[in-house]
């Protein structure tokens, strides 16, 4: 969606236009869900948090001042919810590797039974497992970059860390992933 289109959509959403809000859900659900799934390691938890994320959007969109950073605002809500959940459950945000493995590679086209779909690649499965083993903040940084598509500068700001720290952590995480996947040259 172009900038003007998003501006118009957000203007309508701020007036609680149900169609506009529905469109926002449609536009961003998959990416927000992807992030939440990576941060929680559980499809069920990610689905719950996805709903909570959009409910928070509805409740607070009047306070959101559109400055072209809607995605940053939206993904911040989602990431905060994932972090809160991890704290509430007193455990790392990502579930056990076994749990991640069960879900790994599961592609679920609309309307299909998720269980009917099997992993579509060993690489993907190994990558998911390696991702789950990363330190929380490292994983959060690269997951945010991957799913939100926000620049590192905004991600660093969102997480309250200097840009250099965010980049260094992302670099370390990616090196580690490559090593675990045996791709290091």
């Amino acid at each position: 969606m172009d900038v003007a289109g998003l501006d118009d959509l957000l203007r309508r959403a701020r007036r609680r236009d149900p169609d506009a809000l529905s469109r926002l859900v449609e536009l961003y659900s998959e990416r927000v869900f992807g992030l939440l799934y990576r941060l929680t390691g559980s499809r069920e938890a990610a689905e719950d948090l996805l709903q909570e994320t959009f409910l928070r959007v509805v409740r607070s969109i009047e306070d959101y001042e559109h400055t072209g950073r809607f995605e940053s605002w939206l993904f911040r809500i989602a990431a905060n919810l994932a972090r809160d959940r991890a704290r509430r459950h007193d455990r790392p945000p990502v579930a056990s590797i076994d749990e991640v493995d069960v879900d790994a590679g599961r592609r679920v086209p609309a309307g299909d039974d998720p269980v009917a779909h099997v992993a579509d690649g060993d690489e993907r499965r190994r990558l998911e497992a390696a991702l789950a083993r990363l330190p929380d903040l490292d994983r959060e940084i690269i997951a945010l970059r991957h799913y939100s598509e926000l620049p590192f500068r905004e991600i660093a700001e969102m997480l309250g860390v200097p840009l250099g720290t965010a980049l260094a952590r992302a670099h370390r995480a990616l090196v580690r992933l490559r090593r675990e996947l045996g791709e290091e040259s």
Partner: protein, 136 residues
């Protein structure tokens, strides 16, 4: 320093390509529908709340003024006028009583069916309270 950061950023951006192997994380259609429904329900709930508030704001303001006056007038003992501390305490008690009456009024909806004699009493209480104000 800036150049070093720029170089690191470029390098990390290149390496981020590794995550493309994750592919999409598709959402179940049922989940998307549930989110849409929850959002629609929340919008409807907020609209109802806003409409209710708009409808009640006027009557509630008037009722609050009347009930405050009524509560104050009926709870204020004659002796308290000369003792500021007691007077203040009584005022607090009266205020609590008014809040409670206001709450009852809103919950029971007396504003719709209050008898004329009841309203007359309230207005008399208001007059009485205003007289008290003048004597302070």
């Amino acid at each position: 320093m800036t150049e070093a950061l720029d170089n690191l950023e470029r390098q990390v951006e290149r390496e981020m390509g590794l995550l493309h192997a994750l592919g999409a994380t598709p959402l179940r259609a049922e989940c998307l529908a549930a989110v849409q429904a929850a959002v629609a329900a929340e919008v409807a709930r907020q609209r109802r709340q806003r409409d209710l508030w708009r409808a009640l704001r006027g009557p509630l303001g008037a009722a609050a003024a009347l009930l405050l006056a009524f509560g104050w007038a009926s709870s204020l003992p004659p002796t308290s006028r000369t003792d500021p501390e007691t007077w203040l305490q009584d005022w607090g008690t009266a205020l609590d009583a008014s809040r409670s009456r206001l709450s009852n009024a809103v919950e029971e909806g007396w504003t719709r069916g209050a008898a004329d004699s009841e309203l007359d009493d309230l207005f008399r209480s208001l007059d009485d309270t205003l007289t008290r104000f003048e004597s302070l």
